[in-house]
Amino acid sequence: MTLKTREQNNVMILEVKGKMMGGPDQQLFQDAIKEQIAQGYKRFIFDLGGVDWMNSSGLGSLIGALTSIKNAKGDLKLASVTDKIRSLFLITKLVTIFDSYDNVNEALKSFGA
């Protein structure tokens, strides 16, 4: 898994690529979110277009990130969720929890940014 961060109109955009699974990646992901929260970011977009595989630990990372962001009174939107991840969201009913958009621009618009 690789992570790239960029900021646009005070929204922190995390571009995730590769496989989202447990182990060191999970730690990397958590640390990245915590660091951005500590820097004062409240509005997050995860661009998941490049995620080709996700297991339950990867899903756990997303849930953990959402929890951290909500606890910091922030908000998270997902962008470019692939079919595979969408079906995982459908099974686990996480579709009702995660706000997802077709692409980063749509997600930015939803923030009014």
Binding site: I63, G64, T67
Partner: protein
């Protein structure tokens, strides 16, 4: 005569020899220094002699003799240095053979090198296991605070160059080398050799001096000899660490497997109008699959299939808590929606935010042939109707343990004789072959329908076999363990 059987005695004798050897070396060094000094003095004196006082050919003769003497001295010094090096290397090799503590060996190497190639700062650095993160193993002469800089040097800078080009590098004046990253203000010159094992660069050995042009090619050669021993030590220690780590993981997995096994039902329950069978095939890493039968009354049976996110001991612990909580709630409450809400809240309180559980819980009223269920984010069980229709039992609510105060809805399905219910975890449905194709629901249905007339046990066997055939060489064959837990429950209405 008996020889001294204790290795300690041998070591003591050895260290005494080395002590006196090092005293002799020190004396020799002093002699060399004095001789060099004398040579220098004679050279200077010769320069002050007026040319007329000596015939030019006599003068040349003296100069030539002096030059020869100087070379001879250099040669003797070099021989001495090599002799010392051999002595030190022998000592290091002995240490390498007996000591597994890497730090100890590397410290010895650093101190030994100083006797052969002098330095003001030195470090042996090793590339981290993942190939990126860099770890300083042992060092001398750097400030604690500058160590971050030193690590950076390994990836880039002069150390980076030596590692990338797999060659030693001598920098006579670091202030003139743009690659140089300063970690000490006093450093004037630097010598770096890469560390190799099996043709791969695993790190670098770095010496820094406060003098300009302190190192030459000969020094690099000497350092390479020490570096090769350091590399052997690092590799051995790494392998030893890996063995210990593997032992630890194996013990942990054995514990997780025992926990998981002790929580799974030993036999299928007998039930009016229904036949029931279930199985869990634990994976190599022990996933968090769980299935259960909870006897509520003589005609009501609770059935559970669940998957705890994660693997190993942490997943096994969550599974144990889940089982306890579900069993308590299921006998204290009638409504499945209430049971799942309470289990969710309990898990939410007890587990980390990154962890969760997917679970299908249902109660079969065997006499009325009714299943009441709620699906908390689990792969939907297949209700394969006798008439060929397929229903997915997905109603319920969110996965468990990740969010507080989740609400669950229960649903009811009516069975007819010949209907088949197949519950599973993603280890079955998402088992992939070499082309990345998942086993999928259609294959589960086809195999289950075909095998169903032979009974639930036979259906389970057939589905497991089909999954293994599908995975083929991409996973592990036969009875060996797969990448993910495989869990199946098959219920047939008679």
């Amino acid at each position: 005569m008996m020889s001294d059987p204790s290795p300690t005695g041998e070591l003591e004798a050895q260290s005494k020899t080395l002590e006196s050897a090092s005293q002799a070396d020190w004396a020799q060094k002093r002699v060399f220094r004095e001789l060099k000094g004398m040579l220098q003095t004679v050279r200077q004196e010769l320069k002050t002699v007026t040319p007329s006082a000596l015939q030019p050919d006599r003068m040349r003769y003296f100069e030539e003799q002096l030059e020869r003497l100087s070379h001879l001295l250099e040669h003797v010094e070099d021989v001495q240095r090599t002799r010392l090096e051999i002595q030190l290397i022998t000592q290091i090799a002995q240490k390498l053979a007996n000591v597994l503590e890497l730090q100890e060996v590397l410290n010895l190497i650093l101190d030994s090198v100083k006797q052969v190639v002098d330095y003001d700062a030195a470090g042996i650095f090793v590339v981290g296991e993942n190939g990126q993160v860099i770890v300083g193993e042992v060092q001398r002469g750097y400030e604690e605070s500058a160590f971050g800089k030193v690590r950076q040097k390994l990836g880039q800078g002069i150390m980076g160059w030596a590692m990338e080009h797999m060659a030693p590098i001598v920098v006579a004046d670091v202030s003139r080398d743009p690659r140089y990253i300063s970690a000490r203000t006093q450093t004037r010159s630097e010598l770096v050799v890469p560390l190799f094992t099996g043709g791969k660069v695993i790190g670098a050995f770095n010496l820094e001096s406060d003098r300009l042009a302190a190192y030459n090619e000969k020094d690099a050669e000497h350092l390479m000899t020490f570096a090769s021993h350091a590399a052997v030590g690092i590799e051995r220690a790494r392998m030893h660490r890996q063995i210990l780590e593997k032992q630890r993981i194996d013990e942990e997995l054995a514990l997780a497997r025992r926990m998981q096994l002790s929580l799974l039902p030993r036999e299928a329950p007998k039930l009016e109008n229904f036949e029931v069978a279930g199985i869990n095939v634990p994976s190599e890493e022990v996933g968090g699959d769980y299935f259960d039968y909870i006897r509520l009354t003589d005609k009501d049976l609770g059935i559970v299939v669940s998957d705890v996110a994660g693997k190993g001991v942490p997943a096994a612990f969550i599974m144990a808590s889940l089982r306890a909580s579900l069993r308590i709630e299921s006998v204290s409450h009638y409504a499945i929606s209430t049971i799942l809400s309470r289990v969710n809240d309990f898990l939410f309180e007890s587990i980390e935010p990154e962890r969760f559980v997917t679970l299908f819980y249902g109660v079969i009223d065997a006499r009325a042939r009714i299943l009441t269920y709620a699906n908390a984010g689990h792969n939907p069980p297949l209700l394969l109707r006798q008439n060929g229709r397929r229903e997915l039992l997905s109603e319920g609510g969110l996965l468990l343990g990740a969010f507080p105060a989740a609400l669950y809805h229960e649903h009811r399905v009516y069975f007819s004789p010949g209907d088949l219910l197949v519950l599973y975890t993603d280890g079955i449905s998402e088992a992939e072959n070499a082309r990345g194709e998942q086993f999928g629901l259609d294959r589960i249905e086809a195999v289950a329908r075909e095998a169903a007339p032979r009974g639930c046990e036979a259906t389970i066997e057939s589905v497991l076999k089909a999954v293994r055939d599908h995975v083929g060489d991409a996973g592990l064959q036969g009875a060996s363990l797969s990448r993910d837990d495989l869990t199946l429950m098959v219920i047939r209405c008679l």
